[in-house]
Amino acid sequence: MSGRRNTNALFLLLLLALPLLFALNLSVGSVDISITDLFLVLKGEATKSSHELIFFQSRLPKAFTALICGASLSVSGLLMQSLFRNPLAGPYILGISSGAGLGVALVVMGATIFGIGLSASFTIPLAAVLGALLILFILFLVSLRLKDVMTLLILGIMLGSIATAIVGIIQYFTTDFQLKSFLIWTLGSLEGLSYAELKLLAAINGLALIAAFLLNKPLNAFLLGEDYAKSMGIVVKSSRLFIILISGILAGLITAYCGPIGFVGIIVPHLCRLLFKSSNHRILIPAAVLMGAELLLLSDVLAQLPGNGVKLPINSVSSIIGIPIILWIIFKKRSISKSF
């Protein structure tokens, strides 16, 4: 079957591209480290000690963050698009990032207003996780009672808007300095994660990605609509809860550590469908893991392009790369709904 051969060839291509982009990402930065230098560092024979320091303290954790972040957001977005049968859905459609934003806003800017100040390094991720969990918890309670998945979508969007509105009020009353540090969080960053944080992120999101793959049957069944899903033996309510939970964990934790990195989660699922010409989640989930990681590694490389140590915000770069790709697809295919 030629279709299957194509699929395998594409997977091979994506698998080969991953280490290449990873290495490229490691070598680019304010100090150029050539690929041969990279090997020397790995062998413990670095010619300059500064290379070793930059490599292990900054480049390597950042590259791993990009990898996990891209994979997680793409799969999270894919789950939302399939659950809601909506090509515009993404990891943040249910207000997860707005909830996280509210948590962070309270911690970063709340000090001036409420007179509380928490400034340990773990408080921002913790506040973001709590904010995301709050939204997830409300959605969970509601989805137990709801029959209709569309109502849930609207509710998620409204919850997100409320959180954003509260953030707006906090922003209005805060100081310039704190406002800027909050805005920097909203731009997203792949930097600054310690190895301990990375391990935690990799462990939890790794498990969530495996869980997402195990949901491939209900996800495929949802493509036919919930009635058919039921008639095929899928327990719709609990599958829906699992999908929301997994998608929420993936997006929530990433938002906590890296800020809201928006576009990857919407665009990568579409790229995978177009590339593999399939909507089967057995193919799409591993494809989204690989392509998501690669797109974010590439975005991060491009974010360093201005040189002289100037770095563009990753959130803006991923959108600037993503939008032309989406436009190209739309013009080529005339309609994105065809591929969806």
Binding site: K147, A221, Y228, K230, I234, S279, R282
Partner: protein
């Protein structure tokens, strides 16, 4: 020996989230290997009845016993191994290959990863053959015409290897030739493979020829008849066809009575 697989007694049905009754006091039963045809006007409640029988629509009053067990108490997976469904809605999101789509019919039997075993592949192959869609197998669902979709959806349901098939309007969008082949398939599935089939259709004259029983859905009531009763009794014809279309015993066909 006949084996009863479905028994509905004093069932009242309303649309989901509404208290207005669509159908009242429905009583019907179906044996193994029999075909039940549901006829009725648009909006008469055929699809509502079909959704209730499939366990998709909750009901307040009455019983639907499937294999002597109330339909609402079946686990989804067990039910999916006994009953397969084709609804009128055939919008699916995304790009799926026909073969891949038919293989979704094996979901009640496969593991978490949906891995197809030898027997699953055989079942898929067999249903593609029975539905005559070999020429479509490498196409994508969104490239199919409405009529082709109809057959592909039936193939997916057949791949579920169920003893009971429920088909909501399986002949809509089909031309006469394909309608006939679809009905022949329904007949052979019931008579040769012993499947029990419930289906609705608007091509009543063709569909009646493969039915063992007829459920006529009119004004919130379900009249259970033999197909022959429909030809013999003008009362039933008027219920379904209105005043101007009748079975003419002399010519042995349905004909229009425009100016009488």
């Amino acid at each position: 020996m006949t084996k009863e697989i479905l028994n509905i007694s004093s069932l009242d049905l309303s649309y989901e989230g509404s208290s207005e009754k669509v159908l009242q006091n429905v009583n019907l039963s179906l044996n193994k290997g029999e075909v039940l045809l549901i006829l009725g006007e648009n909006g008469s409640g055929k699809s509502t009845l079909i959704r209730a029988i499939s366990g998709l629509l909750p009901y307040q009053k009455g019983n639907i016993q499937f294999y002597n067990k109330e339909i609402s108490t079946w686990s989804k997976q067990d039910l999916a191994r006994r009953m397969a469904l084709v609804l009128t809605e055939k919008n699916i999101s995304g790009m799926l290959g026909v073969e891949e789509f038919v293989a979704f019919g094996r979901y009640p039997f496969t593991n978490w990863l949906g891995k197809l075993r030898q027997e699953d592949l055989q079942a898929v192959e067999k249903s593609i053959d029975s539905c005559g869609i070999q020429h479509l197998r490498h196409k994508k669902i969104d490239q199919l015409s409405d009529g082709e979709k109809q057959k592909v959806f039936l193939a997916r349901a057949l791949a579920q290897s169920c003893e009971c098939l429920i088909l909501d309007e399986p002949t809509t969008h089909l031309d006469v030739k394909n309608t006939v082949s679809q009905l022949k398939l329904i007949q052979s599935l019931s008579k040769e493979q012993g499947k029990s089939i419930i289906f609705s259709s608007h091509q009543f004259d063709l569909a009646l020829q493969v039915a063992d029983h007829l459920a006529l859905v009119v004004d919130g009531k379900v009249h259970l008849l033999k197909p022959q009763d429909f030809y013999d009794d003008c009362k039933y014809q008027e219920m379904l066809l209105g005043e101007a279309y009748r079975f003419d015993v002399k010519t042995n066909r349905f004909s229009l009575k425009l100016f009488s």
